[in-house]
């Protein structure tokens, strides 16, 4: 797996750059929907980053963390969208 281990740092760098771009949109985004969308993108990119780091260090430890980020990210996006729709989360 020599080629894979020389490719993985570049892939991790690309995903980190993607997270930085999403962070820029999160800080700048003109409307609230833009910020929610970039938070959702940050969750997805964090999952990809965790999987890549797990492959880099040959450990399966990060999968549970990625699974929890996937679940809580969905719940967070739905709650924020509900706030956007109704102005309240729990009615």
């Amino acid at each position: 797996m020599t080629l894979l281990h020389s490719v993985l740092p570049w892939a991790i760098g690309a995903v980190a750059l993607a997270m930085l771009l999403a962070l820029w949109r999160l800080l700048r985004g003109p409307t609230l929907s833009d910020r929610i969308l970039s938070l959702d993108t940050l969750y997805v990119n964090a999952i990809a980053l965790l999987i890549l780091v797990g492959m880099r260090f040959s450990t399966t430890l990060f999968f549970e963390a990625a699974l929890i980020i996937a679940m809580l990210g969905f719940v967070g996006t739905v709650a924020l969208s509900k706030y956007l729709m109704r102005g309240d989360i729990i009615e």
Binding site: L4, T31, D34, N45, A48, F63, K82, L84, M85
Partner: protein, 118 residues
């Protein structure tokens, strides 16, 4: 070309494709001009990007001798929830500012006369 080398190349290609599409999705999110256009970018990241990375991880850990079903679980969950989240997000955004909704498609010709069902 033996099997280990082929596996190495396959995994590297999957990882590169996944990272590339993740980056493209975020560039789209940062650079496009409109909320509806911006929504289009990250969907590539969440399907092609994370999908390729998860497939690569699944093959890698199956090849190194500790296969796990976690990646399958993550990808299933992600592919089921991403459309729901995007739908709710845009619904909320359109509720907030109705001018965001795209215009109705033009009615080019009058509706066809009813055909009698036999």
């Amino acid at each position: 070309m033996n099997a280990a080398l082929l596996l190495d190349w396959l995994l590297s290609a999957l990882v590169i494709i996944g990272a590339f599409f993740t980056l493209v999705g975020s560039i789209g999110l940062a650079k496009l001009s409109d909320l509806l256009k911006r929504l289009h970018g990250p969907t590539k990241a969440s399907t092609l990007g994370v999908g390729c990375v998860l497939i690569a991880s699944m093959i890698y850990f199956a090849a190194t001798g500790e296969p796990s079903a976690h990646e399958l679980l993550i990808s299933l969950f992600l592919f089921m929830t991403a459309p729901v989240a995007a739908h709710l997000l845009i619904k909320g955004a359109i509720r907030g500012e109705p001018e965001l909704a795209p215009p109705d498609p033009p009615q080019s010709e009058p509706p066809a006369p009813d055909v009698k069902h036999r």
